[in-house]
Amino acid sequence: MKRLPILLVPLIALLALHLLFPTSLLSLDPGVRNLLLIELRLPRTLLVFGYGATLGLTGAAVQALFANPLASPDVTGSSSGAAFGAVVGAYWLGLTQPLALAACGAAGALLALCALLLLAGRRADTATLLLAGIGISLACGAGTSLALALAPSPFAFYDAFDWLMGSFTDRSLAQAAAALIPASVTAALLLRHARALDLLALGEDVAASLGHRPRRLAVEVVALTAVAVGACVAVCGAVGFVGLIAPFLARRMTGGHPGQAMLPAAMIGALLLLLADLVTRNLDRAIPIGVITALAGTPLFLWLIVHQRRGMTP
């Protein structure tokens, strides 16, 4: 934890870079420049930062709760659930308010997490957890496709492609707020449980003997994760692997302690997503940010699986 400042410096630098790059904007007339900065650049930077941080933080919390370093919002199906919820909200319920869509996303994510708990249980082994996650992801993916195919609007599929693979283009301040307010509340509430989540590594009984309430903690982690991830996915689509990688890297700084890793994981998640978005913005062709994170994350995911089989991964 003493090493947090190591993350803070690059994070601030990357935030500034993300906001100001490309710098052609700075040579514009001050009125236009400020308008563009506040209306276009700022929501994007905030969203990328907030979404990345949310993925890192909730990833660390979910991994601690399930006592499994391979659990994360995307692997366990919460992101797919959120996407399904948001698609139903947008194309079937005709919702357009960002906050209403965020609520639909949260509801979808909550449904997916509850299904996971029901299917795999709290202390599932990796195989069961991943299988349950795959099942839920597949079901939600099919549901999403079906909802889009049968949607009243003929352009639903085309519309949704960009969004579902993760996109930060042209998001308004209102949309940013719809994602970031639930995300910040979640972060504030989850960070209080760092110590309890650390102790959960020793089993529920030990945590309970030290005055923590493991059942209540589980409900809180699941509900808060659903709210934050659901809101972010509803606004920006599903971005994979950040929620898996960030906690993994963060634990290198916290001696493998899963709960303490939440804060650095949030910072690393934000760093990674800011970096990925900078890459996306500077490519000649428009490639969804989810593709970039997946390309970077898949090798690490596979490496983690191999190492976990040998019981070596912190």
Binding site: A67, L200, L202, V206, L210, G256, H257, G311, P314
Partner: protein
């Protein structure tokens, strides 16, 4: 002066209590009893792992009123499960106890963990893992340590060695410990006092000697060690002698004709039915010149255990009785006579219906 542990009216669902338990500190109390008797439930109730009734004061502080920081300095609970689902290094497990760097190394060294400090807990043997978890439990610096079968799942030789190390370490630190064990030998070896729990009740709490030599209830008598119960009728109770014994004469179908026993028990009326409790070592083979042996019967089984043999003798009444024999053993099916050894303290318990023999 407040005692270290003062638990009053502790109860857990229908499984335990309510019961009281107190300790002045600096001792090891071993909890024994049959499965489902309430040993683990008592630990869980004291550790407040589950919603338990009653009040638990440690050093005078009610632990229900305390947050983690203060609670962890008073009490530490190590559950029976050695599984750590989370992949984490030994050093970091012990650090969860909140120790700073120097303390951390101290605990790692105290439990011989320095060589594996950086290994993942999942890659350790059961014994090493048990030590790592124990080091974590100790690293918070608690006043009371609650250990649920810390030596289970160890093979016998390792178990013996780990038990010695554990006893030495706990003694050196001088921490008050409650330890659940299935092994009576372990309880007697480790426990300054032993608590026997049965059906959620505390049958007896005392030194190993007290439980073995002066069981408080018939259940304790039957559960601890090897023994036999024989139905008798109380004939005569004499005045107390200076050693606290009450010479009591009994008779019964299991006794040889004319046999009379002196017993350390009172509270029975003349003519009352009772069960006579005997340990194998209270009996010896009667020599030829013994005129009135207490029991005669045929030798139906011999269990040789190295230094001595246990002889099962079927009495004329059909009951079986076990005697210990360190010398030459007569052949099977021969008729043998048994008498009480000098200094033996058999006891009488209220009659339990049909006579039974329990191991």
């Amino acid at each position: 002066m407040t005692s270290l542990l003062d638990a009053r009216g502790v109860a857990l669902g229908g499984r335990l209590g309510p019961l009281d338990l107190a300790s002045g500190g600096g001792e090891m109390i071993a909890l024994v009893g049959p499965n489902g008797g309430g040993k683990t439930s008592l630990l869980r109730a004291l550790a407040r792992v589950e919603e338990a009734r009653g009040i638990v004061l440690i050093d005078g502080a009610d632990i229900d009123q305390l947050g983690e920081a203060r609670r962890s300095r008073l009490i530490s609970f190590l559950p029976a499960s050695r599984e750590v689902a989370w992949p984490i290094a030994v050093r970091d497990i012990v650090a969860l106890g909140g120790a700073d760097h120097d303390q951390l190394n101290h605990w790692l060294a105290a439990f011989g963990l320095l060589p594996f400090a950086d290994r993942m807990i999942g890659n350790l043997s059961t014994g090493e893992r048990a030590r790592a978890l124990l080091a974590r439990a100790m690293a918070t610096g608690p006043r009371l340590l609650l250990l649920d079968e810390p030596l289970s799942n160890l093979d016998p030789t390792l178990r013996e060695r780990t038990r010695r190390e554990l006893a030495a370490t706990l003694k050196r630190i001088g921490i008050t410990t409650l330890l659940v064990t299935h092994e009576q030998e372990e309880a007697f070896d480790l426990g300054d006092r032993v608590a026997l729990l049965n059906a959620g009740r505390l049958e007896q709490l005392g030194t190993p000697h007290e439980l073995y030599r002066a069981p408080a209830t018939r259940f304790v008598a039957g559960f601890i060690g090897r023994d036999s119960f024989l139905p008798v009728v109380v004939q005569e109770i004499g005045p107390a002698k200076e050693d606290g014994l009450f010479p009591t004469a009994v008779s019964g179908p299991a006794l040889a004709p004319g046999a009379k026993l002196s017993l350390a028990q009172r509270g029975f009326g003349k003519g009352e039915k009772a069960d006579l409790w005997l340990r194998p070592e209270m009996l010896e083979l009667a020599t030829a010149e013994e005129s009135s042996p207490s029991f005669t019967g045929s030798l139906v089984a011999i269990r040789f255990s190295g230094a001595m043999s246990y002889l099962t003798v079927r009495l004329k009444s059909g009951q079986e009785i076990e005697a210990m024999c360190a010398d030459e053993v007569p052949p099977l099916d021969s008729t043998v006579a048994l008498c009480l050894r000098a200094g033996a303290r058999p006891m009488l318990f209220p009659s339990h219906g049909a006579a039974e023999s329990s191991a």
